[in-house]
C-alpha cells in the first residue's frame, strides 16, 4: 500500500461535465515506516492558513507530522489514504 503524500495538478476542462482524470504527479513525499517523513496509513492533512506548513495525520503511527511548504506553482494535494 502506498504511504505517501502526492502533489497533483488540477485539471479544468471549463465546463460542467463530470470527468475522471489522472493528473500528473508533481512530487511525492513519504514512504512506509515510522521515522521522519515516513507514514503508516496517512489519513488526513491540513495546510496552515498562512501557507507555511503541512500537517499530516499519520493514523496507524498514532501521531501527527509537520512539513514545510514553499511557494511554487498551482497544485493540489492528494493523500493516498488507506
Amino acid at each position: 500500500m502506498d504511504q505517501h503524500v502526492s502533489l497533483s495538478m488540477a485539471v479544468d476542462d471549463n465546463n460542467n461535465r463530470q470527468q475522471l482524470v489522472s493528473p500528473p504527479v508533481i512530487r511525492q513525499v513519504g514512504q512506509w515506516g515510522n521515522g521522519p517523513l515516513e507514514f503508516w496509513c496517512p489519513s488526513g492533512l491540513a495546510i496552515t492558513r498562512n501557507n507555511q506548513h503541512l500537517i499530516v495525520v499519520d493514523s496507524w503511527n498514532h501521531r501527527l507530522q509537520v512539513s514545510i511548504l514553499i511557494e511554487e506553482e498551482k497544485f493540489s494535494f492528494l493523500l493516498d489514504r488507506c
Partner: protein
C-alpha cells in the same frame, strides 16, 4: 502557490493510548480560523484534540462530557470561516457541528440510511464558499449541504463507469474554481473525480 520541499519539521510522540498527549488512530486535522490552533479527530478515542499550532502541545480535549457530542469514531473534520467545526461522526452516521471556541454542541443532522441527508459511514468532509461536501462512504456518493445542514444535491453512485459512478469515496476537496475532487478507496492511481457546481 505552494509545494512541499520535503523538509521534516516535527512530529508528536506517536504513543498509542488514551492519555492527554496520546492518540489512537487519529484520522483528520483542520486549522481554526485564526491559525492559532489545529483540531485532530482522535477516532479510536472518540474525541477531538486541540493543539497549539506553535508548539504542538495539547491545549484541550473535546469529548463526550457533553452528551450531545458523544462522538463514535469521528473521521473527517473541517472548520468554516466562523470557527465552527463540522465533524463526520462516522459511527453515529451524522454530522455534528461544534463551536470551536468553547466546544459547545450546536447542531447535528443525519442518521443511517440511503435517503437525502442520511449516511452510511460519513467519511471525510470539506467546506468551501458556504457549502459542505461529505463523502458518504458506503453509499458511494458525495452529499452536498449548506452550512446549516440543508441538503443541496448529491452526486455519485455505485459503479465503475466513466461518468458519475465510483466506489467508496474517501477524501473530498473543492478547488478554487468549484470542482470537486474525490479520492476513492482502493484506487491508487490517483484518479480525481470532478464536477463543477
Amino acid at each position: 502557490m505552494l509545494t512541499i520541499d520535503g523538509q521534516f519539521v516535527r512530529s508528536t510522540s506517536g504513543i498509542k493510548g488514551r492519555g492527554f498527549e496520546e492518540l489512537n488512530n487519529p484520522r483528520d486535522v483542520c486549522i481554526n480560523t485564526s491559525n492559532e490552533w489545529f483540531i485532530v479527530s482522535d477516532s479510536g478515542n472518540h474525541r477531538l484534540v486541540v493543539y497549539d499550532i506553535n508548539n504542538f502541545q495539547v491545549q484541550r480535549l473535546i469529548d463526550g462530557n457533553d452528551s450531545q457530542i458523544n462522538l463514535h469514531f469521528p473521521f473527517g473534520i473541517c472548520c468554516d470561516e466562523n470557527d465552527l467545526l463540522y465533524v463526520c461522526d462516522r459511527g453515529n452516521n451524522r454530522i455534528v457541528v461544534i463551536r470551536f471556541n468553547d466546544g459547545l454542541f450546536l447542531r447535528q443532522w443525519g442518521r443511517k440510511g440511503t435517503q437525502q441527508g442520511e449516511f452510511d459511514a460519513p467519511d471525510f468532509i470539506c467546506c468551501r464558499q458556504n457549502i459542505l461536501a461529505v463523502s458518504d462512504f458506503n453509499n458511494h456518493r458525495i452529499q452536498v449541504f449548506t452550512l446549516n445542514g440543508q441538503f443541496l444535491f448529491t452526486f455519485g453512485k455505485l459503479g465503475s463507469g466513466d461518468t458519475g459512478e465510483f466506489r467508496y469515496p474517501r477524501g473530498i476537496a473543492i478547488d478554487d474554481e468549484g470542482f470537486f475532487m474525490v479520492k476513492l478507496l482502493f484506487v491508487f492511481t490517483k484518479i480525481h473525480f470532478m464536477m463543477k457546481y
